[in-house]
Amino acid sequence: MRRVRWNAPLILGLTATAVLIVIAIIAPWVWGERAEQTDYSATHQSASAAHWFGTDLFGRDVFARTMVATRPTLLMAFAAMLIASVGGIIAGSVIWVSGPRVREIGQRVIDILISYPSVLFALVIAAILQPGAVTSVVAIGLATCPAFARLTTNLAASVATRDFVSTSRLLGVGPLRLLRRHILPNIAEPLLVLMSVAFTISLKALTGLSVLGVGLQAPAYDWGSLLAKGLEGIYVNAWPALGPSIAIVVAGLAGGFIGDGLAAAANPASSRRVPKRTMKAALAAASASVPGAPPLLRGDEVVPAEDVGVVAVRGLSVVMADGTRLVDEVSFTVGEGEIVGVVGESGSGKSLTAMALARLLAEGLRAEANQLSVAGHNLLGRPPREKLAKDIGIVYQDPASSFNPTMKVGSQLTETLRVHGGVSRGKAAARAIEQLTLARVSRPELRIKQHPHELSGGMRQRAMIASALLTSPKLLIADEPTTALDVTVQADVLRLLREANTRDGVTILLISHDIGVVSAICDRVLVMYAGRIAEELSVEDLRAGNARHPYTRALLAATPKVTETSGELAPIPGRPPQPAQRPSGCAFAPRCPLAQDVCVEERPALMRIGTGAAACHALTWQPVGVQ
């Protein structure tokens, strides 16, 4: 099972609870006698070394009485919590299992019950039954049941829509087993959190009942009744009221802390224990010594200003707060009017590379580089934001979420133009209609007055491209622009990107996981693996299957073709390393058929080969070319 993620509130809460439990167990023996000892010569004393919490009106030691009262108080609160959780979870489960109609009615009933304060509910029950410990525990327990029932039904409903539940249903798994094995274990954590909260609530409510005199009856006493007695003489001596109050606060906080701690422990995002990065980035210069070896492309050299096209990146890394490199020393250039594709599997760092170029990295990530110039701006400095917004256009993967659903398409399309370009509303609208027409969006005059949901997915993506092109950007970054689209629509969108490139000369960086997509419209392709560039090759070489890097070759061999009935596909054994566990050598070495010792030890640098480049040691001991 998973390890518990310890955190401060959880440790604090558990420690406090443990101390309270020990006190509850030993108190009657240690303080029992003292708690009953009356001393009429020392009544109403305030705190002193002899009496830590002072004495009450009979001269009894309040500290001893508070300690002795720990056991009944905790037991009652615990019992109430148990009744609430067991009863509530069973009620919630039954409601969930009984089918849609019962569920609907059941949930409404729970909603009504929850809207009544539990103490009020408990008072009613206590008034009907004989006041006493059992009555108040049962009353508070029952009053807290609806909270558990509601949480159980709500959580069960969300888990029940998941695939593993529906698959088990098709397998013929009955509802009870479904609940026991598939639903409850997956909702246990929030229920546990609620249990610790319920403990605190029960403690508070039971104290309230005792103060009102319907709780534990004399001669037995709990913190609540001690507090009630103390309150009677509070103007004479505050200590008999203060002592039990402190105990109540401590126990309540302990429950609250455990709840907070459990909630934090259940949330993987709250984990601060990230494995430390073990590898060191080593710029390998090994192959430089091999005679006749191809020249290296070094990440620490800066591209001279006159050679900078639209993008010049040297040694770009995207680093997490703990130092883990998600993108690791990537170097490439994009020339004016080029379409460059970045292809790689999930986790290869292709999207992060693109987002670093647009200064749009998520919070907690930071870009480091020796050179990072995009569209004439030095991103290592402080380029003006409005210029960046104009010069870099972005098309995202999901056209459904990249538009604000509450704004009309037209005003979103022209936002950059109006805000950063200083163009009037009317002119901007005219330009938008023009671009939408170029993007073959039907009836553009109507579309700019519509909301995003009124457009189909393909039309939204075309509108997105029109929007990105509206400011005549120097670079268009398209991050998986067709992944969410149907294949016929995908072809339209790719055609549109190519048209923008030939018509207006827009430089495009196209990110995709699909080798077919990048082959379709790119001039040059970068293949990324585990945060690094494995190979850079011309699209002609890619189309002809002339890849040099074993990873690119493996990727091509694993891709089925639509044009021919292929034989066996060759899967790539193993899986890519996690960013924090990338080896110091070649990241592909563990899966590579050509790997030798040097591959594990040294990281290969990108080497120029013909019109492309590849980062592979094998190229220095094998004839360069196509195998």
Partner: protein, 257 residues
């Protein structure tokens, strides 16, 4: 060759009154024993609805779904449950289709016998199932999060095989996977088809994958089957305009057409 799954004139409607939509119109096809039929189409064409109608999750308005002669479309209650076990579905997302709190062994044991799901009692069968999808027996004690997407999808395949179904419905089972992992899953499927003479309905939007896996192809377009035939006939000499458009749109490694 006998027919394992026979779907005849299946009609499905969604909604009521004016918003009623005719989602499947007169859909008919057949899967012969030991073969795989590919059902292709774009989003909204009715692929998944067809799968759901076959397992009885979606009610059909008309038509029959015969599994080795028994009609699922007309079955209710206990009869439907019994029939359901004869058809098994492999869902799309291997990250959502395995219970994260159950070991692989427990998941498989439950599939083997939902009433007495004991890992120990079914240990032999579990090892056998894992071997079928090229996984070691010790995978049985591990939890889904310890496996890669491809391995999880293989576990999902093993679970579908556990009940020895007469037909398997694979609904976009590789679309959530990376290319290299997809090759791993397709390899396992191909091996199983020859070894177990599996009959399968393979649903996918990816034409290259469908060509790789299937013997026959049915093309769905707006709830109707517009083309139906042998794999190479459909891919090399499509008769319907829509099939042609579909095939022309697939990036095939060359320049955009």
């Amino acid at each position: 060759m006998t027919t394992v799954l026979q779907v005849d004139n299946l009609d499905v409607y969604f909604g009521h009154g004016r918003s009623r939509a005719h989602v499947l119109q007169q859909v008919s096809f057949a899967v012969k024993a030991g073969t795989t039929l590919g059902l292709v189409g774009e989003s909204g064409s009715g692929k998944s609805t067809t799968a759901k109608a076959i397992v009885g999750v979606v009610r059909s308005a008309a038509g029959t779904v015969l599994v080795n002669g028994a009609n699922i479309a007309g079955a209710r209650g206990r009869a439907l449950n019994a029939l359901r076990r004869r058809v098994q579905m492999i869902p799309q997302d291997p990250y959502a289709s395995l219970n994260p709190r159950m070991t692989v062994g427990e998941t498989l044991a439950e599939a083997i016998d939902p009433r007495r799901a004991s890992v120990r009692a079914h240990a032999g069968k579990i090892t056998e199932l894992l071997a079928l999808v090229a996984m070691d027996a010790d995978a049985s004690q591990r939890y889904p999060h310890e496996f890669s997407g491809g391995q999880r999808q293989r576990v999902a395949i093993a679970r579908a095989l556990a009940v020895q179904p007469e037909i398997i419905i694979a609904d976009e089972i590789t679309s959530a996977l990376d290319c290299s992992v997809q090759a791993e899953v397709l390899g396992v499927l191909r091996e199983l088809r020859t070894r177990l003479k599996l009959s399968m309905l393979f649903i996918s939007h990816d034409l290259a994958v469908v060509r790789h896996v299937c013997d026959e192809i049915a093309v769905l377009y707006q709830g109707r089957i517009v083309e139906y035939g042998k794999r190479d006939d459909v891919f090399d000499a499509p008769r319907h305009d829509y099939t042609r458009l579909l095939l022309d749109s697939v990036p095939d490694g060359g320049p955009l057409k």
